[in-house]
């Protein structure tokens, strides 16, 4: 029976991709400027494992590598899910979490904090930002939310069509990009450097609290999206058919847009803009398990996590001991993979 065969196929991919993620996780923990042995890793992951662990190695793993690796997995999964949903609700395979202008809005929020030293509730000096490392993240997140509300309102007024949302996203991108450029123009060279570095996207900024917040956001949105997957499937058949299948298309599209925004805004606020994962992960996942969303969403999460973790590991190894911002690596690794998918024979299949 087709359904059962597909169901099994999806299960097989979940198992294979989970094992691959585990392998990448261990490799990523082990590799770096200082290479760690498997025993060191097992010591940390299994606290009851007999023997003594060097405190320096323990610190490297717990304070530096583990939060970075977990953040890569969570952010990758978030961007993968957000991309899958957006490509469906916007009826556009080129859509990604940044199509709706969230990256630009976040960047403006970050720029405001870096250049003017402004928090969202008032004006602060540079000293405040140094003391409060979350000022940039809070600003970035707040402006991502403002950008999202702007797009949602525009979309709601004009019937929530994919074209309206995309055009509103483009308008938001240009508006916030221009505002960010203005701030850069008046900023000092140190401030501009800090902002440029923030915009690269870097997982090295991640700490445990940020990992926890991003994980909670991912788990909540992932659960809601899974419950709504039949509605996403209905949208694949077109708005008119979806309506006659009992879906309130306009409401569904706005809810999905808000969920995708949340899935993007939280990671971007903490680690900056990381491109290509949200575009590439859904395409690879659709290639593997097809477009039915109850299969596609979990697979997109796994593929997104793997892509970002692989890119981050590479970013630490390519020019070691220099660590490249992962945002640069995702594009370098993503473009050839994307082109391969596009021009391979299998492209017809997805």
């Amino acid at each position: 029976m087709t359904f059962n065969r597909d169901f099994n196929r999806e299960r097989v991919f979940v198992i294979i991709l989970s094992l691959l993620l585990l392998l990448l996780f261990v490799l990523s923990l082990a590799l770096g400027t200082i290479s760690l042995s498997l025993t060191d890793i097992v010591h940390i992951l299994l606290p009851f494992y007999p023997g003594h662990l060097n405190p320096i190695i323990a610190k490297i793993i717990i304070d530096i590598r583990l939060p970075r690796i977990l953040m890569a997995m969570v952010v990758g999964a978030s961007l993968g899910i957000a991309g899958s949903k957006l490509q469906t609700i916007l009826r556009n395979p080129l859509a990604s979490p940044y199509t709706i202008g969230i990256a630009s809005a976040s960047a403006f929020g970050a720029a405001l904090a870096i250049v003017l030293g402004a928090g969202i509730i008032g004006w602060y000096g540079t000293y405040f930002i140094i003391l409060n490392p979350y000022a940039i993240a809070i600003n970035a997140f707040t402006f991502a939310v403002i950008g999202t509300i702007f797009i949602a309102l525009m979309a709601f007024r004009k019937g929530a069509s994919p074209t309206t949302i995309i055009l509103s996203g483009i308008a938001t991108t240009f508006m916030f990009s221009a505002a960010t450029s203005l701030l850069q123009y008046f900023g000092t060279s140190e401030q501009v450097t800090a902002l440029v570095f923030w915009m690269f996207g870097d997982l090295g900024k991640a700490n445990w609290i940020e990992v926890e917040i991003t994980t909670i956001s991912l788990l909540i949105t992932f659960t809601i999206v899974l419950l709504l997957t039949p509605r996403l499937d209905a949208l694949v058949l077109g708005d008119e058919v979806a309506e006659t299948l009992g879906i309130r298309v306009k409401l569904c599209r706005i809810v999905m847009l808000l969920l995708a925004s949340l899935l993007t805004a939280v990671p971007v606020a903490f680690v900056g803009t990381i491109g290509f994962i949200g575009l590439l992960a859904p395409h690879i996942s659709r290639f593997l398990v097809g477009p039915i969303h109850r299969h596609l969403i979990p697979i997109s999460a796994l593929v997104g996590a793997e892509l970002l973790l692989a890119a981050d590991t590479a970013s630490r190894l390519v020019l070691s001991p220099l660590i490249l911002p992962v945002g640069i690596l995702t594009a370098f690794m993503g473009v050839p993979l994307f082109l391969y998918l596009l021009f391979s024979r299998g492209a017809k299949e997805w």
Binding site: M1, P230, L237, E240, E243, L245, G290, W350
Partner: protein, 255 residues
């Protein structure tokens, strides 16, 4: 028994009126064809019945229940709709397309009953050989059959079809029409469809509704229609031919 009643329906696109005082009834298991030139209001009428568009006046009743008073989900268990162009954003398999017709009954994923229902409709329509094929790789006729199977998976009382035979060759047109006629009788589904091929109407329809500029100009047995009404609506002259069963064929006069 009257299954569906359309009462005094009106609809306007901004300044232009698309439907005016449209009223007719459809009995259980009856096949009704909407005829009329482009812009007559056929698609608008079907969309209003499916509640894709909100009529400015009038209402639709199914078994005496007003459609405007029931939720969209309950409506989708009673009325299914096939648009003129059936599109899928990503290449779904035929079985997946048909199974999506069960969405009104689904919570998160299809139950074994949903799968059984989809399997049974695929068998009934004779498209079992296409089950594992990609929908976008099928011929136009095959796609239309699959789309009809998807609408039937909704288990509707009323089936609305917007030009189900468009872009199809003669063989596929006849196949689709035979299938619809047979389904309407065996499953007691009322079918309302728009067509452009006048000659299919007397062979496969129980009732003909001719629309012109948003108004009904004829409603009744297709065999009884005065050809002059059609000539007036289409603004061309027809040559009328009859076959051995007394059914007419209309051939447009070109000069």
């Amino acid at each position: 028994m009257v299954n569906i009643k359309i009462m005094n329906m009106e609809f306007s696109y901004k300044s232009s009126s698309a439907l005016r005082g449209v009223t007719f009834e459809v009995r259980e298991g009856e096949v009704v064809t909407l005829l009329g030139p482009n812009g007559a209001g056929k698609t608008t009428l079907l969309r209003c019945i499916a509640r894709i568009l909100r009529p400015t006046k009038g209402c639709v009743f199914i078994d005496e229940i007003s459609l405007s008073k029931i939720s969209r989900r309950i409506l989708s268990k009673n009325v299914s709709y096939l648009p003129q162009m059936d599109e899928t954003l990503y290449p779904l398999k035929v079985f997946e397309v048909v199974l999506l017709g069960r969405i009104p009954y689904m919570k998160i994923k299809p139950t074994p009953d949903d799968i059984k229902e989809a399997e049974s409709i695929i068998r009934e329509l004779g498209i079992g050989n296409l089950k594992n094929k990609k929908y976008n790789e099928l011929s136009g006729g095959e796609q239309r059959k699959v789309a009809i199977a998807r609408t039937l998976a909704q288990n509707p009382k009323v089936l609305l079809l917007d030009e189900p035979t468009s872009h199809l060759d003669l063989k596929h047109q006849i196949e689709i029409m035979k299938t619809l006629k047979s389904i309407s009788k065996t499953k007691k589904i009322s079918v309302i469809m728009s067509l452009h091929d006048i000659n299919l109407v007397p062979r496969f329809s129980d009732k003909l509704v001719v629309l012109n500029k948003g108004e009904i100009v004829y409603c009744g047995d297709p065999k009884d229609i005065d050809i002059e009404i059609l000539e007036k609506v289409y603004e061309i002259k027809f040559e009328v031919l009859y076959n051995n069963n007394g059914l007419f064929y209309l051939v447009p006069k070109t000069s």
